[in-house]
């Protein structure tokens, strides 16, 4: 019985993997993503120049709004990453130290990568040697991932991160279209319509695809 469950899980995982590969191949082939919600066809496309201008204007407005919002005691409600960094330092969490640690791990990784790379060019190198380097590098990568996750959790509520989320939401509003009589038309005419839409599945899927397609985080790198 246990084995049957395991086999079922393995099959499901393989099916998921194939579906994901199919999804990724479609993502590569086109700069638009088509999807269906409740038998209605939708698509997410890249923003036009005019829409990008509108997005950047909205981003600036949102940034100033968050920057200037105060609570009932007259204190600024939202914090920039730099403010949070100082606040965390007062509480014993040193972001600079985390960055330094990340860089040290990066240097250690590069030393091992060089050794592993060189070993791969030698015919005599054994699998044991290669595997040992691989394990060491994997361990360093995992440590780096831990630092990155910790940092993004600490900055989750920063103004910068909220702006990023807002950009994805606004992109979803601007670039989601639906197929009506063989023509692609905008789903929402105004941002208020998007915000008041009760079709959560459509909203969530649109924002997800806006995140995938526009990928503002990757643009920053």
């Amino acid at each position: 019985m246990e084995e049957q469950v395991r086999t079922k899980e393995q099959v499901q995982s393989q099916v998921d993997n194939l579906l994901n590969i199919d999804f990724v191949e479609n993502l590569i082939k086109d700069n638009k993503i088509e999807f269906e919600v409740e038998s209605q066809k939708y698509r997410m496309r890249l923003l036009t120049y005019k829409e990008r201008q509108s997005l950047y204007k909205k981003r600036a407005d949102k940034y100033l709004e968050l920057l200037n919002t105060k609570n009932s005691e007259g204190e600024y409600l939202y914090k920039l990453e730099i403010d949070l960094k100082n606040l965390y330092k007062e509480r014993g969490i040193d972001i600079d130290e985390m960055n330094n640690k990340f860089q040290i791990l990066e240097s250690q990784k590069k030393v091992l990568q060089e050794k592993l790379g060189q070993s791969l060019t030698k015919e005599a190198s054994s699998n044991v040697e290669l595997e040992s380097y691989k394990k060491e590098i994997e361990s360093l990568i995992n440590m780096q991932k831990e630092i990155s996750i910790k940092k993004s959790t600490l900055f989750e509520f920063s103004i910068e991160n909220q702006i990023l989320i807002f950009m994805y939401i606004f992109t979803a509003f601007l670039a989601t279209e639906k197929l009506v009589n063989e023509k692609w038309v905008k789903v929402w005419n105004a941002f208020e319509d998007f915000e008041n839409d009760t079709n959560n599945q459509l909203i969530n899927t649109s924002v997800y695809y806006a995140t995938i397609l526009s990928n503002y985080e990757l643009m920053k790198q």
Partner: protein, 117 residues
Amino acid sequence: MIGIDEILSKIRKTSKTTYYQTIYGLDNKHLNIKIFNNDMNLTLFQINFLNCLAMYSAIYMDIYMHEVSDKVLDNEIYEDAYLYYKSKRKKDEKKIPQQKEAPKITSQWVFKQPKRG
């Protein structure tokens, strides 16, 4: 719904396949084979895919030239390590100053050293 990291990893795996490597190889011969439906406005994933195609094409070429073992393709850690080693080696080679060869005498005139008295 899959995350960005997983998408990037799958893009890498897709670009490594014989199918896409063949298309990439043929595209280099200007046969005008289209990989994408769109000609312009590439997404960051499409740009990333093109980079991966070039990266794997270079690795396959190095394997063919016996510069590296085909074990390199066993996993992404080996691939990254090899590419890092290769780029570092190139940088280091550039840093070493080329030794100047002694200039060869091209003139037909031969000047004798004056005899010391």
